[in-house]
Amino acid sequence: MKARRNGRGSNDAPHGCENDSLSGRVLAKLVPLNLRASGTEDGMTVVSARSSEWVKPVTQQDPASAIIEIDRVSQVFQTSARKDHVALSDISLTIEEGAFVSILGPSGCGKSTLLYIVGGFVSPTSGAAKMKGQAITGPGPDRGPVFQEFALFPWKTVLGNVMYGPRQQGVRVTEAEAQSRALIEMVGLKGYENFYPKELSGGMKQRVALARTLAYHPEVLLMDEPFGALDAHTRTRLQNDLLDIWERDRKTVLFVTHSVDEAVFLSDKVVMMSKSPGRIRQVIDIDLPRPRRRNELLLDPRYQKYVVDIERMFDESDEAGAPA
């Protein structure tokens, strides 16, 4: 079980990242060993009441081990008008192993670009991103992307798509197929193994894309507005399913979205960005119990407060950020 900061005892009000990493280090020692059991039906009060049971000093592992470090990254694009567009300005961010981190911001704030830099698909104009201490120079199977556009291989069936990564990694056919079939079942597409992507709906395609990425066991999932192209109902279902899947193995997830609800519902930490130039406005810990259930969460005043607070902050920045 990975050490994970549950944010217990951190204040309700959003706070900056400096405080955060500090409290993180302290709080990481309070790690529930069995995370599934810690949040049973009766929700958050029980978690805090029971928390003493689960307090275990973790000594072997660096409690808040950083998996991704983004160090003063800037990205400047040259637009056609020979004017430089600063997509990202001096971004520094550390993402801890096993955390679900959302990057939230209006369109055009460079949040996807930041994700692409971590993916190694785009090189930053200045600054550097590191994965486990190693500078990121290109894409690699340790960082698996899931795109809004699905980007499935249309000439491959569902099974072929999911098997593609493991096969590329040299996994034997029989083994890759067995693993892939299990994954397809996990994302709820059993029976669709031999369908081509064009025969699937958007939600199903995104399920395949998720399975395809999970199939090669990346350490970090990079999700670029993965549910942005889906209708509201499908999006809700996929959010729920993603959380279910994530709560099983707790991969590190970097999740780009412009939906406040989505970010708060899914994340441990929300990185709020502002646009032109793209900057980190604030990093907010989402101190809500897991496993999260949508129907419980929507009624939870703390969840509501996060959503309202974040929305208010964006509104303020819109007014303050009027063109100078």
């Binding site: 290109g138 992307p145 556009e149 291989f153 709906s201």
Partner: protein
């Protein structure tokens, strides 16, 4: 049992051919021109051509050159077009060259090529090669250019190297477009085959056709036109079958996406 609609669809091409022949027959009878035989006369001349050993050798020689020219063109043009589509440097280098060659009728180059390489198979095959190359390059280029960046990124994240991505992602993703180019190329191969044999007469289907024209055997001329046309239809039909198989995944057969339940 076929539905009436399906039967009409099946019968349509046959009806079109019969219609054309009827119009031809009527027009020919009306015009009473020696150089315009009736459809029936032309059709009657076909068995004598196909029964003649020398004619068959000629036609087969034509087909062989066509196959070689077409095959070589496809083998060269697809990689070139894909590279051009994915690399602006390669595209910047080859684009002007191709733009110069594109509007030139390939048959117009033939006299020069004949001076260099003689009137034999090589010249004719080369002309066919040139005729086929351009549409295949163009469509491969367009197909490669249109490949979704995110698809390539997904491949890169799985560990595919740039050359692997070109072969295993760009090529299959661009295949529908490439095959559209090949289909145009196939028809052009037939056209350049006949024109090349018109200019350098020695053997081939074009040779029969133009010799007959010189000798005023108009029924043979029109019979050859029918034969060449039929070859075109057959080759295209075979190609279409292969193409449909290869890109089944992209054909909009099942337009209605299944809803997830």
């Amino acid at each position: 049992m076929m539905s009436p609609a399906a039967m009409t669809r099946r019968a349509a091409p046959v009806l079109a051919c019969i219609g054309l022949l009827v119009v031809w027959q009527v027009a020919s009878l009306a015009l009473k021109n020696d150089s315009f035989p009736t459809a029936i006369e032309a059709i009657k001349a076909i068995p004598s051509i196909l029964g003649d050993k020398e004619s068959l050798v000629n036609i087969l020689a034509s087909l062989r050159r066509m196959a070689m020219g077409f095959g070589a063109a496809v083998l060269v043009s697809i990689p070139l077009g894909l590279l051009m589509g994915r690399s602006t440097a390669v595209a910047a280098f080859f684009n002007p060259l191709l733009m110069v060659i594109y509007p030139v009728p390939k048959a117009a180059l033939m006299p020069i090529i004949m001076l260099w390489l003689g009137v034999g198979d090589i010249t004719k095959t080369l002309v066919i090669f040139l005729g086929v190359s351009l549409p295949v390059i163009y469509h491969s280029f367009e197909g490669a250019k249109a490949v979704e960046e995110k698809m390539l990124w997904s491949g890169a994240a799985m560990g595919l190297s740039p050359p692997q991505r070109l072969v295993r992602i760009v090529l299959p993703a661009a295949l529908p477009e490439i095959l559209t180019g090949c289909r145009t190329g196939l028809v052009l191969a037939l056209i350049t085959m006949i024109t090349s044999e018109m200019i350098a007469r020695q053997s081939g289907a074009g040779n029969i056709l133009f010799n007959a024209l010189d000798m005023g055997q108009y029924d043979t001329v029109f019979a050859m036109i029918i034969i060449v046309g039929a070859m075109g239809i057959c080759l295209d039909a075979i190609f279409e079958r292969v193409r449909a198989r290869l890109v089944r995944w992209s054909e909009p057969q099942f337009d209605m996406p299944l809803s997830f339940s």
